[in-house]
């Protein structure tokens, strides 16, 4: 049997449950005490009435009894005990005395010495007992009835206990009940919380939760509006970089193409040299603008997409592009996972930029006599290894920064690894640079750890 999970101590459910339980306990105990006090007063009244009634009833009976009694030779009265029908313990005892305080008659459990000598009528307390004195026969005969106060206390305490003990049962029941009620009432809030958590980094669609309490619904609507504004802002930024890329690429392409035509058509000489220099600069400008836009896009977020992509297929297209452009030649050795094995939430365009940058870096900076080894594992690790000398830890740390380049004569913007790192971070992964490459004594390896779709992992 699976027990329901206890709510967190910081949760609203926990606070309300504990608060309700404490409040219920305090109120219940206060009510019990107040009831006990009232009850005790009422018990006192009833018991006093009974004590008074006993004294008033005994007085005429005692008078008749005394009239019928023979006096002893000395003429002094002798206290006689009222015969008992059956031995028993008396809650109320009494004693009948004359005006001089001499006992004439008493109940069998009474102890004359414990009775007060004061014969004035009325109630009084003494030695843990309650007394009531009644006088009659013109102030010549006095009856004093007595009762142990402990008896009354015991009765009051029993009544109070009867009021308190249900709390032991009611308190856990009320905690469970309040907790269940709160859990049910807060279930839309919990669902909303889970939906927000599931939004993750790439999903910026409004939550649109329903059934929320009015206090939370306002906050939820505000969150949805905030998400919408954020999504619009990010979309605007992405559109800007995409449009910038398009608007920049065409004039650069036009300038480069015209210059290349000029280089072909010009005769050898200083003007041709100038045209060739312009062509080189235009190529550099093209490369730099492309990398800057890639970096801007990567740092502007958007590393994740709502739908998972098969990275193996995307990588195939990237490799096809590199090979068809003649960049890669036959230097690339690839290990690809089976189709559908690496489903990832990373944006496919972002992954393509990441892969292209790492492979181009390896082709540019690795030794040409060794292949560039490209691999993608089902765990979402994309690695590119190239041959070359071992880099120092300082160099490894430095080359990841924008505009920093290793000790190389190869051209480059110094932005490739910064772009890759920004994309990996935006997607919730990270980049690791190794030199020497894993399992080798030399070379360089870049590993991008990318998020793999959870459902795919579960299936595996």
């Amino acid at each position: 049997m699976k027990w329901p999970q206890l709510p967190s101590r910081d949760s609203l459910q926990w606070r309300l449950t504990v608060g309700s339980a404490v409040l219920l306990t305090v109120l219940w105990i206060a009510a019990a005490v107040a009831t006990g006090l009232v009850l005790r007063e009422e018990i006192d009244e009833v018991f006093d009435s009974a004590l008074q009634e006993v004294a008033q009833r005994v007085l005429p009976l005692a008078y008749i009894e005394l009239l019928n009694r023979d006096e002893d030779a000395t003429g002094s009265p002798t206290a006689q005990m009222v015969p008992t029908v059956d031995p028993h313990s008396e809650y109320i005892t009494y004693i009948v005395r004359d005006a001089k305080g001499r006992p004439l008659l008493r109940s069998h459990d009474s102890v004359p010495d414990n009775f007060p000598t004061d014969l004035s009528p009325g109630f009084r307390d003494r030695s843990g007992q309650r007394f009531y004195t009644e006088s009659g026969v013109s102030g010549t005969l006095f009856v004093t009835a007595a009762e142990r106060l402990g008896h009354r206390r015991s009765a009051a305490n029993k009544a109070l206990l009867a009021l308190v003990w249900p709390l032991a049962v009611l308190l856990p029941l009320s905690i469970a009940g309040v907790s269940a009620l709160l859990s049910r009432s807060l279930s839309p809030v919990s669902a909303w919380q889970r939906q927000i958590e599931a939004r993750g980094r790439g999903n910026l669609t409004p939550v649109g939760a329903t059934g929320l309490p009015s206090e939370i619904a306002t906050a939820a609507a505000s969150v949805d509006r905030l998400i919408e504004r954020l999504a619009r802002a990010l979309q605007a930024e992405r559109s800007f970089t995409a449009n910038s890329a398009h608007e920049l690429r065409t004039p650069i392409a036009a300038a480069l193409a015209q210059t290349q035509r000029m280089v072909v058509e010009l005769a050898a000489g200083p003007i041709l040299d100038r045209a060739a220099a312009v062509e080189t600069s235009l190529r550099d400008l093209s490369r730099l603008s492309e990398k800057l836009l890639q970096l801007a896009k990567a740092e502007g977020g958007g590393g994740l997409s709502a739908e998972p992509h098969d990275l193996g297929i995307v990588l195939t297209y990237v490799l096809d592009e590199l090979c068809s452009s003649g960049t890669a030649g036959d230097r690339i050795v690839v290990t690809l996972p089976p189709i559908g094995a690496v489903l990832s939430s990373i944006d496919c365009d972002a992954f393509a930029i990441l892969a292209r940058n790492l492979i181009e870096n390896a082709l540019k900076h690795g030794t040409t006599v060794e292949p560039v080894v490209v691999a993608l594992t089902p765990e979402g690790v994309f690695s590119v290894v190239n041959g070359g000398p071992v880099l120092s830890p300082d160099d490894l740390e430095r080359i990841g920064r924008p505009f920093e380049r290793g000790a190389t004569f190869a051209g480059g913007t110094g932005l490739g690894l910064a772009i890759v790192e920004a994309i990996a971070k935006a997607a919730g992964g990270h980049l690791e640079l190794l030199s020497p490459a894993a399992g080798r004594a030399d070379g360089f390896e870049a590993r991008a750890y990318l998020p793999v779709h959870v459902a795919q992992n579960e299936q595996r």
Binding site: A242, R249, P251, A253, L256, Q260, S324, D349
Partner: protein, 227 residues
Amino acid sequence: MRILLVEDDPILGMAVRDQIAADGHTVDWMKRLEEASDSVRTVDYELILLDLMLPDGRGIDFLRTLRLSGDTTPIMVLTALDQISDRISGLNAGADDYLVKPFDLAELSARIGAVARRYGGNPNPLFEVGDLTIDKAARTVHRGGRAVALTAREWSLLEAFMARPYALLSKAQIEERLYSFDAEVESNTIEVFVGRLRRKLGQDVIETVRGLGYRLGRGKDGDHRRP
């Protein structure tokens, strides 16, 4: 080859057109999709170079429409849309190649050749007929082991024959392949170029079918091979 270039940027379009023409191909340059649609209805192009962002629509829609209509003309996309998703969309829509701006004109020429060879059913750039060895990728011709220099127009004419080695090509078909819409063609131009090719490559390299046109000959040994 007769190539249709669809590009709205005048400076880039001019350079691309000149490059293709310098390679010996015939180019019709259209700046709008509407003009391009009219052109493909009129002429059987051997290759279309297509920009994707045009003033009157998206090139990808033009591409899809062509493929849906059963048109199998090779299409190479030339675009500033550099994302891999754009590339995948373009190739899935039926593009044969996808080249992102800015590009090297030399790379464009090489890819045009590769696409043409792929569509010609023979990706191998070497073509042999008689004592001639023709490298379509390097655009060189060797006759009996010696290199023969051809002008761009002569090369284009030879390419037209190599594309359909046994087939008869009418004079009109050859003119259509060699000249763009705006070119003025003299009545005896084709005969002049055929004559020049025969002088450089051998009299029997091109056969005349009287009243109908020309076709690639079988060479001295009556055989030609496509390795």
